[in-house]
Each structure stands twice: as structure tokens, then as C-alpha cells.
Symmetry: C2
Subunit: 142 residues, 2 copies
């Protein structure tokens, strides 16, 4: 598969929860270089832990769907712009299920090794995320 | 200039405040396609308004410096990963000067037209930003 095909399949897996494809897409050691707010930031994930990470998000948002909005492909890296939508049916740490529907934007740069996706650097609009689930959180402009 | 050279010069301008170079780098109509929390999101900016936008950030953070951490270049778009650092010496809407030093991560996809940078889609870790200035704002995990 081309790098962009792996990304399309990866986002499909995040959206449909078919974890059986993970081993065909993700390197045996997947590095989360930077991802503020992510529990696994800074860690290297094997396939079981990668699966656990997807399951964690899909447990909180069982109807989670990712929309790929743009890709910019370099030699060994692909930058992606995406929007995720879902309903918080499950509990999150410090935030019992709100049953609120939300959408949040993110951008991610993926690295590839030996034809598999092997890590990422990610930024999510966590304030927008939090405000949709907890409308009392104050806004602040740059 | 190549697209990547324009990006390097653009981040230098954001970091040193030499607004005189804006007309050489930025298209006459610069579109902020998506940038949650940005006052100018969804708008098209002429050079004067673009300058005002940079000045707004540099007034709040006069020592603002951007570190370019990665670039992924496509045909007419460049994806950038960056970290900004600065001290809030100026007031922000709803947040009088805290004199706190902070750093925050972002990723941006820029589009180019006729050899100039003509717009962007951006995601900033606004929650990390807010928490460094207002430590009482609660965390929330995905």
C-alpha cells in the first residue's frame, strides 16, 4: 500500500472499530512523539497497546467517525487534517458520560517505516473538545 | 522564493515583528479557512489586517518566538509543526496580563497561490495554552 492508502485505511479502522487490520497498517513499535493530553504521549506502543488506545476512544464515543479533510504527503511523512465526530456515551477520566454529541478538529503528521505507519505528532483542539462536553469551561483567545 | 523559504521567512517575521516583509510573503487576500479560537477565522485578510493579526499576538506576547519543528511539502500546500513560546505581558480578551511564560504547540497547513502564502488551516492546543495562563482550568482526556 502507498502511505496515503495506509492513512485512509487507518482512519477507516478508527471509525469502524475493525481492529483486525491494525497489524497490516501499523508498525510493531508505534511512537507517539507528541500529542498533548494523550495518555500514551511519549510512549512506544506494540499492537496490543495500540489497539487498547483505539478501544479507549471508541468506548467513550462508540459512534466515533473521522473525516479526512486533507493530506499533504512527503517522502516518509504524511500530514493530515481531520475532524472527528461522536457522542460521549462512555465515561472519561473525571468526566462521566454526558451523552453530548461533539466534533473536534485535529492535525497529525505521521511517519512511515518499512511501508507501515510508525508514529505521529498530533495537535487537537482540546479546548473546543472540553467546552462541548463541559460548557462552563471559559474561552480564552490567543 | 520556494514555498518552504516563504514559510521560514514568515515564522521569522512572526518572531521578530518586522512587518515590512509581509507584502513579499503573503498574498493580497489571505484566507483563514479554519483556526478554532482565532478572531479572524473564516475571514479573508488584506495586508493591513494580516499585520493587525500579527500585532495582536505580539502585543500580548512581546517576546513571542516560533520554533519550526517540521515541514511536509506538497505541490501547493505545506504542512508545518511548530512550538511558540512567550510571556503574556499584554492583556487578552477576558485575561489581563499574567506575566506568565508559556509554550504551546500547533500544526498548520498553508496553501500557496502565485508564489505567495495565501491561507491556512490551523489547530492549536488551546487547552494547554489556557491552562498555563489560568491553572484553575480543568484537564480532560479524550
Amino acid at each position: 500500500m502507498q502511505a496515503w492508502e495506509i492513512i485512509v485505511a487507518l482512519y477507516r479502522m478508527w471509525s469502524d472499530g475493525d481492529y483486525s487490520v491494525i497489524a497490516q497498517l501499523v508498525a510493531p513499535s508505534y511512537v507517539i512523539h507528541s500529542d498533548p493530553g494523550d495518555e500514551w504521549e511519549g510512549k512506544s506502543l506494540d499492537h496490543a497497546t495500540y489497539t487498547e488506545r483505539v478501544r479507549f476512544s471508541r468506548n467513550a464515543f462508540p459512534d466515533l467517525k473521522f473525516e479526512l479533510q486533507d493530506m499533504v504527503a512527503g517522502d516518509d511523512r504524511v500530514a493530515v487534517r481531520w475532524v472527528a465526530r461522536g457522542t460521549q456515551y462512555g465515561d472519561l477520566p473525571g468526566l462521566p458520560a454526558t451523552r453530548r454529541r461533539l466534533s473536534f478538529a485535529g492535525q497529525t503528521i505521521y511517519e512511515f517505516k518499512d511501508g507501515l505507519v510508525a508514529g505521529h505528532w498530533q495537535v487537537i483542539d482540546r479546548l473546543g473538545f472540553v467546552q462541548q462536553l463541559q460548557p462552563t469551561v471559559k474561552d480564552a483567545r490567543r
